[in-house]
Symmetry: C2
Subunit: 106 residues, 2 copies
Amino acid sequence: MNHSELENYLKAIGEGTRLKILKFIIDGPLCICDLIETLDMSQPAISQHMRRLKEENIVLDEKRGRWTYWSLNAKHPQYPILLHLLSLLPTLELLKHPCTNETEER
Amino acid sequence: MNHSELENYLKAIGEGTRLKILKFIIDGPLCICDLIETLDMSQPAISQHMRRLKEENIVLDEKRGRWTYWSLNAKHPQYPILLHLLSLLPTLELLKHPCTNETEER
DNA sequence: TAACTATATAAGTGGTTGCTTATACAGTCA
DNA sequence: TGACTGTATAAGCAACCACTTATATAGTTA
C-alpha cells in the first residue's frame, strides 16, 4: 500500500457521517432508507457516502428488490483495523424508521 | 473517543504529505529544513502540516537553538495504530539537505 | 398500466483544505 | 550590532468536499 492509497482509505473512513454509517452496519446490513431518519440527512447524501465507501471496497452492496443492502466488506485488507477504530466509538441508537421493509426477513 | 474526535484524528493523518512526514520522523526527530528538499514543498507548507499534527498531539516539538525538532508522540492513545498504518507504507529516502545542522549532534 | 418506493446520478453551492508568497520573529555568529 | 538562518503566521487562491434540490431509473403493488 503506497502513500496515496493509504491517504484515500483514511479519507474515506475519516468523515463523520461515514464513520456513523460504518458503525451502524457493523451490526448487519442496512439500506439507505434505514439511515435517513437517524442521520437526519437527505437520501442522495447518504447514497453518495455509500458510493465513496464502495469505491474503496470498504463496503459491499447487495441489491434485493427495491433495496440495496450495505454491509462491511470483511475481506478488505484493513478490515481488522477498521473494526478496531470503530470499537473506539460510542454506540449509536438507530431510530425506528418508516421503511416498507420493516417486517421483512433480512 | 467520539465520532468527531476520531474524524479529526483520521483527517490529520489521512493526508499524503503528512503521511510522508510521519513516516520520516519514525526514525528520529527532524526539523522542517530537513524535509523541504525531499518533500519539494515550501517551508510554510511543511510548518502548517506540523501545526495540524501538533493540534492532534500526534507529534511533539522541541525547540533547540534556531531549530524545532519534530518527533512522534509515543504517548498518544492511537500511537500503536499509527505505527501499524505507517508500517504499511514503503520506505522513503530522505534527500541530503543543506541545513546548517548537518554535523550537529542530535 | 399507473402510482408508489428506494436508489442513483446530475448540477449547483458554501465551506474547507493545502498550497503559495510575503512578512514577522527568534536564535546564531561574524 | 547586523547579517544570516530557521520557523511561524497571515493573506490569498484554486481545488476539493459534503451537502442540497431536481431528476432519472428500477422494482413493487394496486
